[in-house]
């Protein structure tokens, strides 16, 4: 990540696009993620258990998805931005082994007085939109 990225209010507008970033989901990556985030629910690393619950394969958990949204925001806003909230995070479709998941966002509102920015975020695979969420961030003066 570029240390020189310091996004300010003067350089953004409603409708600006953020990202995309993407990550290929392999079983190995899910296992690495489970070890790191410590959610060892079998549905996130055991294909048979995941399929028994109606998913096509083992799939990303909430922590992994939230972390990818954080990466999306951080890479766009730079070192001095602050994430205030990630809300309305809704999982619509599984992000499973074999998918390449793309994360992106759109600036939907901004307030110059408080320097806050609202960003609509989404993830998508070949099956279309999989997760949606909204972030509020504060940018430096």
């Amino acid at each position: 990540m570029d240390m020189d990225v310091h996004r300010g209010m003067d350089s953004i507008a409603v409708g600006d696009e953020i990202g995309p970033i993407s990550i290929p989901i392999t079983l190995q990556r899910l296992v690495m993620e489970a070890g790191a985030n410590r959610d060892f629910s079998l549905i996130h690393h055991d294909a048979d258990v995941a399929r028994a619950t109606g998913a096509p394969d083992a799939y990303m958990n909430t922590f992994f998805i939230a972390g990818m949204f954080e990466r999306l925001l951080r890479e766009w806003m730079g070192y001095r931005g602050v994430i205030n909230s990630i809300t309305n995070l809704r999982m619509k479709v599984f992000n499973t082994v074999g998918d390449t998941v793309t994360f992106s966002g759109t600036v939907s509102a901004l307030d110059n007085d408080s320097r806050t920015v609202v960003i609509e975020m989404r993830s998508a695979t070949g099956n279309g939109e999989t997760v949606t969420a909204e972030a509020t961030i504060t940018l430096p003066a």
Binding site: R29, M32, R38, A66, Y79, R80, S85, T87
Partner: protein
Amino acid sequence: MSQPAWGKYGTWEEAESYLGKVIGEDVGVDAIELGSIRRWLEPKEFDCALHTSREAAQAAGYRDVVAPSTMVFSYGLPAYWSPGDAPAKMGDEPRQIPIPVIFDVPAPCTLSFASNIDMEFFAPMCVGDVISRTSRLASIEHKELRVGKGAFMTQEDTYTNQDGDTVAVVLLTIFRFVPPEREQG
């Protein structure tokens, strides 16, 4: 995206008796340190010096390396095994993550799906901090959906550091239900 519930079975009256009460609390087993942050960044290919370099973090106004905000879930978790615990045996039930404590609230439901998560962040988590979680049952909203009859149950998780500062508040909503053919009278 429904999955078999591992929740307790009971009546709605029993469920509602938990409203506003603490239904779970844990102290994170590990203080925040560089190794756990690095292993969390790795599978996400997340390159940010705020999370790896004291110099970069301090230049941005933090007292030390700062953990990603969404790591708060992981840092609030207890150990899956501790010295003195009984040894595991083949055939034991797999250990479940203890965060969705909504399943510890008895309710007349057999299935569930996670509906919504809201996270609000109030203070940075820096190297050396220890994170605790206190969960309350915030609301029960009865609803009949296509998948079945049940309720949106929301828990409010407050994460604090060792000084008692609130680091984050997370609302987790799970719809617990019975499919139409299995509804109880």
